[in-house]
Amino acid sequence: MQEVLRLPRALSTRVKMPSPFLLVALLPMGLILILVAVLFWVSLQRGVIGTAAVTYTWENYAVIFGDPFVYRVSVNTAIFALSTVFFALLIGLPIAWMTERTTIPGKVAIYSIMTLGLLIPGIYTAMGWTFIAHPRIGFLNQWLVDLFGLESAPINIATPVGMGFVQGLSLSALAFILTAQVFRAMNPSLEEAATVHGMGFLGTLWRITLPLALPGILAAIIYMVTIGIATFDIPAIIGLGNRIYMLSTFVYLKAHPPDSGLPEYGITASMGTFMISVAVLLTCWYGRVLRQGHRFEVVTGKGYRPTLIELGGWGIVGWGFILFYALISKVLPLLLLAYAAFTPYLAPPSWKMMGQLSLVNYYNIDWELIMRGLKNTVLLVVVVPVVVMVFSFCISWVVVRSRSQWRYILDFGAFLPHALPEVIMAVGALLLGLFVVGNFLPLYGSVWLIAMVYVIARLAFATRAINSSLLQIHRELEEAAYAAGLSTVRTSWRILFPLLRPTLLSVWIWTTLLVYRELTVAVFLASHQSITLPAIIWSYWFGGGRNEAAAVTLLMTVAVTPLILVFWWFGRRSVLPSQ
């Protein structure tokens, strides 16, 4: 037994030289922990933060929880998050059901439309809808007032419900993708059993299909609520100018007070800590619901082939619904943005205005600023996706392939950014740059601070995607390379990377597009030097230059179109063989 007891020492020779992947994988994990720790540390401070003149206390928490304004903001946020989910499901759920369970024609086209929906940023929709339905400048309101001789604007987009509607339009693509998975995994023989035993179509839908899909739908709801409570861009674009605040815009206001007020970082940090707790709770709940959902899964054999519901003439109604959705969520907002980009001032579209179209906004915008923004944005778009892929490959490899004890921690750690809203990571990075490394590292105000947060924020998605692909690559393909004498790194390069190429490519394009359009983190962290293109749009918009903002938006959209086409073409190709 002496021999057996000494065993761990034999293993220790390997522990001394852990895989190179593990070391790389631990780096971003450390950064996430540091961000959370900094946030908590600052939240306990009153006075001049980071100096001796500071007292450690829970007072910041007492202040935010005792503030009736915070209470109102929380209620706003709750209404906003719930209406977001409501509108997203109202659109996404029927389309998902039609695509997965009925004979509606043109399914590839539906998938393309919905995927493109994911790519068009919420801020574009928000700006477009401001032009449509804002109480003062929305053309729809002005038309309705003129048409019916109304006293005031009938539609107000600048309310929690209104913003929830716009956010819902933007998230409905996500709702579609999440619920389509649920319908796809469901065993159709359960529905058939109901039909055979005499239940009608609606009865089956109501009593069988929806209850079975419920855990999956509930998980999707929780996921979207988690996004909703921390969304910054749409509440900022629509609400901030109209003094309708959410938790995220409240945090922004405390960190960047208007009219040269003093930033209240302690309050910001304690609100951030509070939001992390809520988000972590929601994420845990999400994980639980997701696991419970597997309870309903009925084992499907090899001959599994879902029977589809014959839609017949209703297919036209279904397509009408989809096209209407595409119109109000994408086409109309983008058309109005394009229109506003060429008009000298905001006015409802009319023949008279068509005569006034010009390039005046492009003469007015500060091209020196644009070029600086372009430089930073290009830098981020080139660097961040590569770093994300290196980190997430290493994390995935350790999680999926190694026997390291670290793999459970890494698996959880890589999921953590899901729970951490981007607003909070941005605040954490801001405080880190200001109070922790400020003295020796000029990170604050540099584009690298933005890059760091982008990398962390995009890690969760990339790691999940590579995890599932790596699981599908037989372990022996890799072991054959080791046995044949190839080193770990060379094996990755020659065997794993080529086999993972489709996944890596889609992760790369997806990350690139998200980084390109990212607004929240950029608005919190961008300085004069490190400003990005979306942050420039934001600063024009917030400063009242709505036509200039539209002009820059149009430029950004045109510039990214080739990449979106590549993504669409590539996505379509990878969808087709699986059918």
Binding site: L7, A10, L11, T13, L477, E479, A481, A483
Partner: protein, 377 residues
């Protein structure tokens, strides 16, 4: 060539440790075709992967060609890449994004056993020729049949090192007819190249057909190591006998040195045991012979009632009842029947005797009748 001493391997699972290997000793000589056989979960693949360096043993020592590659005292670890062997995997692990040629060439170009660039081509062609795949060299690996993939995997292993080959159930994904053909070819090739082969399989027929030496594993331990004939005819335990073919098992007691009292009467055995000892007797179905002339033989004659019989082409498998015991026999012809009565004999040399106190050994007996039926054929 391979020497394994006191090897153990524990796996950590969510309820604690599971021992996959318990203090194993294995010795494989140069040029030997050594087969490790055992049921699934017996630890045979773990043993092979420890030798290959794909698993880290929990304790013990492994030497390849007299060089320590893994040891706990002093702690030594030579990674897979530096161990110099060729390996064929159960899934073949033919890299799907490369051609047949590149699958064989990649380790020679970039592996630890790389050869000078101008020799790569010749080495690859030679290996592909040996497995008759030279015509398909430029074909993409995704367009190969199972048998072809298997040959590519073999060529790759030979190209890296033909001195030592490790094979993990390389035939289990082939259909039965191809399997028989390929196992002969692999053995032929290994002998032609003078390779030492460590070969893992769960199939006892494959093990006997291919090996110079077989090691039978169960629950992480070696039950018996020896030549195929030795394991088949002189198993050291009931489990070994049971693994290599069906056996008619009987409980009994020695009444003289070579005579046992059993439920089907007194049986003479060849292997002496102490009188009074409780024993477990077994004889294989094909060891039951048909007695044509009763007067010629006296010992170990059984009066039986013929039950069911199955014709398998090359032989009959039949069941007989002897004193309420169901026995299974195999023969080219059916015993001649007189109102259902037949006369059978078991040669004393064919009766295997094991001590009955072996608890695990007794498990082969229960439940007696269904067991005898279930293992027939």
């Amino acid at each position: 060539m391979i020497s394994v001493r006191n090897l153990s391997k524990d796996f950590l699972v969510s309820g604690g440790k599971v021992a996959a290997l318990r203090n194993l000793d294995v010795e494989v000589s140069e040029g030997e075709f050594f087969v490790i056989v055992g049921a699934s979960g017996s630890g045979k693949t773990t043993l092979l992967r420890c030798v290959a360096g794909l698993e880290v043993p929990s304790g013990g020592e492994i030497r390849i060609a007299d060089q320590v590659v893994s040891s706990d005292n002093p702690p030594t670890w030579i990674p897979s890449q530096q161990r110099r062997f060729g390996m064929v995997f159960q899934s073949y692990a033919v890299w799907p994004h490369l051609t047949v040629y590149d699958n064989v060439a990649l380790p020679l170009r970039e592996g630890a056993q790389r050869v000078p660039r101008n020799q790569v081509e010749a080495r690859v062609r030679e290996a592909l020729c040996l497995v008759q795949m030279e015509k398909l060299a430029e074909r993409s690996a995704t367009l190969l049949s199972g048998g072809q993939q298997q040959r590519v995997a073999l060529a790759r292993a030979i190209a890296v090192s033909s001195k030592l080959l490790l094979m993990d159930e390389p035939l289990s994904n082939l259909d039965a007819r191809l399997r028989e053909e390929v196992r002969g070819k692999i053995r032929e090739l290994a002998k032609h190249l003078g390779s030492t082969v460590l070969y893992v399989t769960h199939d006892q027929v494959e093990a006997m057909a291919m090996s110079d030496k077989i090691a039978l594993m169960q629950l992480g331990e070696l039950l018996q190591v020896g030549a195929p004939m030795e394991l088949y005819h002189h198993p050291n335990r009931a489990e070994v006998a049971e693994f290599f073919g069906s056996v008619n098992w009987l409980r009994g007691r020695m009444i003289q040195a070579c005579l046992a009292e059993t439920p089907i009467g007194r049986l003479e055995v060849q292997k002496p045991a102490a009188p009074g000892e409780e024993i477990l007797l077994g004889f294989r179905p094909e060891c039951i012979s048909i007695v044509e002339d009763r007067s010629a033989t006296k010992t170990n004659v059984l009066q039986a009632t013929l039950g069911s019989s199955t014709f398998l082409g090359d032989q009959f498998v039949y069941s007989v009842v002897v004193q309420d015991r169901l026995l299974v026999g195999k023969n080219r012809t059916l015993p001649r029947c007189n109102k259902g009565e037949v006369c059978l004999r078991v040669d004393p040399a064919d009766v295997m005797v094991f001590p009955a106190d072996n608890k695990r050994g007794m498990a082969v007996l229960e439940p007696e009748h269904s067991r005898a039926l279930g293992t027939a054929g």
